[in-house]
Symmetry: C2
Subunit: 473 residues, 2 copies
């Protein structure tokens, strides 16, 4: 395994200064929307990853594709890195300016460009967040299902190939991005895809960009698939006597082909954390949080099947959240798990794992991991999009105690090794970023990573697009 050891985890810093002439050009074009204030730079120089690195040299607030192109053209001219910035919710250090450069803030690019309800498509600017999108299209009776928890930007979600709670039924950003407007490394504007549901027209540049973490271009507009709001939605909570029982239930649900919309695991620690944080009174044991979408009859059928499976595994009676308010409360609590977890150990930081395995391997992967982390004595909780075979162990690490971080990284390494040996992946949805470059090499092999590097060099010969991420240059 080539996975990084804790001592090597600090990102390699290779600052490439922004020359005064470039700074002048940016200031001339963007005025007050170009900032070198330390507070602004620091805000754009961190995310939810456990890394601390110097911030970018300058932040530019762009309001259009043309403005992004103008910044990238200057960056190309002066061979300076550019890093797109959306909601700042990355967990893997994607936003960190390990080689300095310019942060391109797309938050003001927050408009719906074209809503085609009759085609179930929408085109949005990259800074639109998922909750904003769903608020703005609610009147159409449609919704965008991809929900990574954080209120991430659609640009960021595309860049990391995000997924989250609804992916088990609706797929990930991979399946739900139809087309893109991209600013390439030389500042050209390219459109990929169409609004047609499928196409065989040449290389799938859309899918190449989705998940490229800003290293091949800046996505400025994204065309998405939408879905009719289901006629019926029911959410339920089910407590299990053990985490194994919850996982076995999940595996059977998926193997039987039940079209469940959400199938989320919370371990006892996670339930305790959200109870405390959101003032809930969920039974403190391993739990599945499930949601069913469809017609009334279809939802009833799904529930009957799942209740039977859960009952056979010793699951308690389902507790129902039938009104939209109750459902929102439940899913908000789930989405707060990250912050709720942080509060379990004041002052801690989180090292989060993201393995995903074929569904039949989920029990093997998860239960051995639980035994391992229990034995380590480190504080943790587990949440998981288990319907997809994807779960997150969040190790709660005291920054003042270096051995805790080392233990967490060692446990993460062991978990990734386990997932790869089970035909899985080191990252189901968070991306590689800075943290998993060694894991990517283990997973994909040197040949595939070299193929990625060849593509990167060809499309970004000066290595200015979010350099230092995914793989070493």
């Amino acid at each position: 395994m080539n996975a990084p050891l804790p001592a090597q985890l600090l990102p390699k810093l290779e600052p490439r200064p922004v020359p005064p002439a470039m700074l002048d050009a940016l200031k001339e074009r963007f005025g007050a929307r170009c900032s070198t204030a330390l507070a602004v730079r620091e805000q754009h120089g961190r995310d939810e990853s456990p890394f601390d690195v110097p911030p970018p040299e300058v932040v530019v607030y762009c309001e259009s594709t043309d403005e992004v192109a103008a910044v990238v053209k200057l960056a190309d001219q002066y061979a300076v890195p550019v890093i797109p910035y959306g909601a700042g919710s990355s967990l893997e250090g994607h936003l960190l300016a390990v080689q300095g450069g310019v942060s391109i803030d797309v938050n003001r690019m927050n408009k719906l460009v074209a809503l085609h309800a009759e085609d179930l498509t929408v085109t949005v600017q990259a800074g639109v967040t998922r909750s904003q999108l769903n608020n703005e299209i609610r009147h159409t009776g449609l919704f965008f299902p991809i929900d990574p928890g954080a209120d991430a930007s659609i640009g960021g979600m595309s860049a990391t190939r995000a997924s989250g709670t609804n992916a088990v039924r609706y797929g990930t950003m991979r399946e739900n991005v139809l087309g893109l407007t991209v600013v390439t490394a030389n500042g050209e504007v390219v459109h990929t895809g169409t609004r047609a549901k499928k196409s065989s027209a040449g290389y799938d540049l859309t899918r190449l960009m989705v998940g490229s973490e800003g290293t091949l271009g800046v996505m400025t507009e994204i065309t998405l698939r939408l879905y009719p709001q289901p006629e019926a939605i029911s959410a339920a909570v089910c407590s299990f006597p053990s985490i194994a029982a919850a996982v076995n239930t999940t595996m059977q649900i998926i193997q039987m082909g039940v079209p469940i919309a959400r199938c989320e695991l919370l371990d006892t620690n996670a339930v305790r954390a959200v109870n405390r944080h959101d003032k809930l009174s969920l039974r403190e044991g391993a739990m599945l949080l499930m949601e069913f979408h469809g017609t009334e009859a279809s939802v009833a059928e799904q529930i009957a099947t799942v209740e039977q499976i859960a009952g056979e595994q010793g699951g308690e009676a389902f507790e129902w959240a039938s009104t939209p308010e109750e459902r929102t409360r439940l899913w908000t609590a789930r989405h707060h798990a990250y912050f709720a977890g942080l509060q379990m150990k004041p002052g801690c930081r989180t090292v989060t794992t993201d393995t995903c395995v074929p569904i039949s391997r989920l029990a093997d992967c998860l239960l051995d991991t639980v035994a391992e982390v229990d034995a380590s004595g480190l504080a943790y909780y587990i949440v998981g999009h288990v319907g997809d075979g994807n779960f997150h162990v969040a190790y709660l690490v005291d920054p003042a105690i270096p051995t805790e971080r080392e233990t967490a990284e060692q446990l993460n390494l062991q978990l990734v090794q386990r997932a790869l040996s089970l035909d899985g992946t080191c990252t189901g949805e968070h991306g590689i970023g800075l943290h998993k470059m060694g894991f990517l090499l283990d997973e994909a092999g040197a040949g595939a990573v070299e193929m990625m590097r060849t593509i990167k060099h060809a499309l970004d010969p000066k290595n200015i697009m979010n350099p230092g991420k995914i793989f070493s240059a």
Copy 2:
């Protein structure tokens, strides 16, 4: 529009001879499995496209990934083109040896490598055909839904990003290929993807290869998603008073989110052709052929909704095919449409269109096209995966009458222009091949095509992987 005119449609021939030393090396390694017999070469030098070009210089029957790699290594050494050959069912000239070279026949690579029913995945060699796959996995209760009509190889279906009748519910090869084994242009073997359902691990090389038409590497093994055979399947035929009524019904079915599994249009000409070819007695008018998958209750609900929509559009009462035998007879007839159509005009060849548009634009696109082709006087029929906005006009062209071919190409051009103006694509599932290079430029724009070319040059610097397809070098 940069679309080719009929006179320019003949592929540019730039033969790159196989040197005697390479031929000797191939013969030494492959013995009788390396053939230069004219009949063998000619068999590998044509497909279902309307082009005639000289055949490849040599055909090699490979039996393993290592053997494919050995051929490609020699091709790399001598800078000679290689063209993968599966079932030969391409419609766009993908297999034609426009620059000479070696045809790599993968039909003997026809084994299931690993069936993981418990994970709903299977890994197959590239020469396995879709019907073979479904026969071999039937005992598991699972099936692979992608069905392009022809009994294509899984390798070819991956290479063209194929879809077909079930895509409206199950997606295309884009959504259903999890991972690949690929022989790259320098003869290295690379693995992409894992068996996990989702991943954010670096560039999506799997999706880059799917649809690359053999121009970036030879896919030798493919890992696919499988689906549980539905508890209930019902197929129905519904005749409409006009093609407009059939199309309007389709649009409403999709816009309401009915999870229909197949929604196929046949125009009156197509119905007449399959009636004659398959000795059926379908009512000779515009028709939808539909199939519903799900639980008994879900299928009943879908049918009730669709019957109501169709009734409002003047559709006749549904005729049901409930037994597997009746369903097979119906879908076999649909799959025979291509050959049935050819028999409508003895000695003719087919020029087939493949546009796909957003669902709300389907009526605009299809009805104007019908008016145009009716006015031309050319014989034709239409079949379509209309649930996806994708349909095929098959112009029946007498090779002895050049003006017919010219008319067909002119009509195709007009149709593509219409589809692009409606935010659609020139090819929903057949690929670019030789025929649509000009259309690709119109659709994707020079910037995106240049991005494709840059990737091609980087990954295949000697331009040996199926050269001359998708875009000019």
